[in-house]
């Protein structure tokens, strides 16, 4: 049953060291504020999962929160590599990062299987690739009717899923729209879930068949305006493309990353303060 709470309370209550944590968002509605709060609270040893880990995962990995990453595409979309992710994989900094690598189709199916309480997913996948020899989670299964061989992979069942959405009502019923990604499946596949939202409303006033998470499948709902920035929230604000570009320079070296993290995340009280600090920076840069 959804409890309205502050984000710091929600992370403290539901995300523990060593947990298997899904933060999802396919370019849209990425839960940046929640990721920052995980960093602030100093979580360690997390096994993270995300289809498209990007800046927020680069930050959590660089901050030392993660021991493992399950993913299908890890990059700065439209810009290039994730330097902190690469540094962890290539050099073990700040800690070694185990990876479980999948394709989008696999991971999307594996979330679906998790939401459906199945132990594995079946897909037409990976044929001819190096995944099956190299990645032990890719196995095969034979159709009991046709004899066809298909790929089978383990379902994803996170300890906790964290997503951002546009609205929730007082009961914690959550509405999201636009690019939906795999957020519904992530929440339904997880044991616990936290949803940050742009707006708390009296009534969702949702159209028929909209994507809604009933409050009783959510554990904590937190009001965090702009909580998906620098990604975007459809109907609320646009993607801050300039930040994605700036991140390439910030994250390239360990020292510049550490300085940025300290000033923007570790030394800020919450996401609202982070946004103020960031806004100050941007206006300074604009003045130069």
């Amino acid at each position: 049953m959804a409890q309205w709470s502050s984000l710091s309370e929600a992370i403290a209550a539901h995300v523990h060291d060593g947990d298997f944590v899904a933060l999802e968002g396919f370019t849209h509605l990425i839960p940046f504020a929640a990721g920052h709060e995980i960093i602030r609270q100093g979580r360690r040893g997390l096994a993270l999962v995300r289809m498209t880990p990007d800046l927020i995962h680069d930050q959590m990995i660089g901050a030392g929160c993660a021991a493992k990453l399950t993913f299908s595409w890890g990059g700065n979309p439209g810009v290039g590599s994730l330097h902190r992710f690469r540094d962890a994989v290539e050099n073990g900094w700040p800690a070694p990062l185990a990876i479980e690598e999948r394709s989008h189709s696999d991971l999307a199916n594996a979330y679906v299987a998790g939401a459906a309480n199945l132990p594995f997913a079946v897909l037409r996948g990976y044929v001819g690739s190096s995944f099956e020899p190299m990645c032990p989670h890719v196995r095969s299964i034979v159709c009991p009717f046709t004899g066809e061989r298909l790929a089978a992979t383990p379902s994803i069942r996170p300890d906790v899923a964290i997503v951002h959405a546009q609205k929730a009502d007082h009961k914690g019923n959550v509405l999201l729209w636009g690019i939906l990604g795999v957020q519904k499946e992530a929440v339904l596949a997880a044991k616990r879930s936290i949803v940050t939202v742009e707006e708390r409303v009296k009534s969702l006033d949702a159209p028929a068949n909209a994507c809604i998470l009933p409050g009783w499948v959510v554990d904590a709902v937190c009001l965090v305006p702009r909580g998906a920035a620098p990604s975007y929230a459809h109907g609320y604000y646009d993607r801050d493309n300039a930040f994605y570009l700036r991140w390439d320079a910030i994250s390239r070296e360990r020292e510049s990353f550490r300085a940025w993290l300290k000033e923007h995340v570790l030394d800020t009280a919450d996401f609202a303060e982070y946004l103020r600090v960031l806004a100050g920076k941007s206006s300074q840069e604009a003045v130069r």
Binding site: F26, T27, H28, M51, T52, F71, S72, W73, G74, G75, P77, G78, V79, S81, L82, F85, R86, V89, E90, E101, R102, S103, H104, S105, D106, A108, N109, Y111, V112, L123, R124, G125, Y126, V127, G128, S129, S130, F131, M134, R149, G178, I179, L180, G181, V182, K184, E185, C211, Y232, H234, D238, R239, N241, A242, Y244, L245
Partner: protein
């Protein structure tokens, strides 16, 4: 290089020409997205662009910077969940053309976007597979667009992310893959197509002003040229104007990043 257009421009225009009107196209971000949208603005207004984030039938006014830009959702016929895209639409067998980029490929058009060096101790950790493994096998045919160099066109891949023709000949069919695979690789130097028998990528058309020597110098294997290898039709005025206009609008909308081109 003849005056009037850049090697990037002829690459994008050549790739766009290959997308037929009405085709259902699964679009990767970056170069494939540029080419597919250019095609849509030129000869293929009824091409249906599917992005893996969920939009089906997207008609963005400017190029998306990410695979899930809001403009894709706003202009699409419908937006479904990402699992549905991969399950019902790609695996469902509804995609005519998969449009892929590549970090590396080999002579049989196998693609690597995973890792350079040893998988467990990589020299370079690349972003990973994304949709490529299943686009490569489930789309009825695949187009690859990639800049050509000895770094991208290599003798041997460290990892096959997405199957092309595997070891050549009928290896792809023997592996049980349904889709036809890469029917063309479009680069900034030329167009390569698989040989009918061996399935080795063979230069079938050379961009104006490019020499065979340049192509050899930028290919990591001893590249062959088809018997009827010709010269690529240079970009026409309308093609160039449309592409430049699209890129200018995009730069204006996103701030110039140079990426989407």
């Amino acid at each position: 290089m003849p005056a009037g257009f850049t090697s990037d421009e002829i690459m994008t225009v050549s790739a766009a020409r290959m997308l037929r009107n009405g085709a259902i196209c699964f679009v990767g971000i970056g170069l494939p997205s540029t080419a597919a949208n250019l095609a849509r603005l030129l000869h293929a207004p009824d091409a249906v662009l599917i992005y893996e984030s969920g939009p089906i039938g997207a008609r963005p006014a400017v190029l998306p910077l990410s695979i899930g830009d809001g403009s894709l959702a706003e202009t699409a016929d419908t937006v479904v969940s990402t699992p549905e895209i991969f399950r019902y639409w790609l695996q469902g067998g509804r995609v005519d053309t998969g449009f892929l980029g590549a970090a590396q490929l080999d002579r049989f058009a196998n693609i690597n976007t995973t890792v350079i060096g040893d998988y467990h101790k990589p020299d370079v950790r690349l972003p990973g597979a994304g949709g490529a493994p299943e686009i490569g096998i489930s789309a009825k045919e695949v187009l690859v667009i990639v800049k050509q160099s000895r770094r991208s066109f290599v003798e041997k891949l460290d990892f096959i992310t997405s199957a092309g023709f595997l070891t050549g000949g009928d290896a792809r069919e023997r592996a049980g893959i349904r889709g036809k695979g890469p029917i063309a690789v479009i680069t900034d130097l030329c167009i390569l197509r698989p040989d009918r028998e061996t399935r080795e990528l063979t230069v079938s058309s050379i961009h104006p002003g490019i020499t065979r020597e340049q192509i050899r110098a930028n290919t990591g294997w001893e590249v062959r040229f088809s018997d009827d290898c010709g010269t690529t039709e240079p970009p026409g005025e309308e093609e160039l104007a449309t592409l430049r206009d699209l890129l200018a609008r995009t730069a204006k909308a996103h701030g110039a990043t140079g990426v989407a081109a």
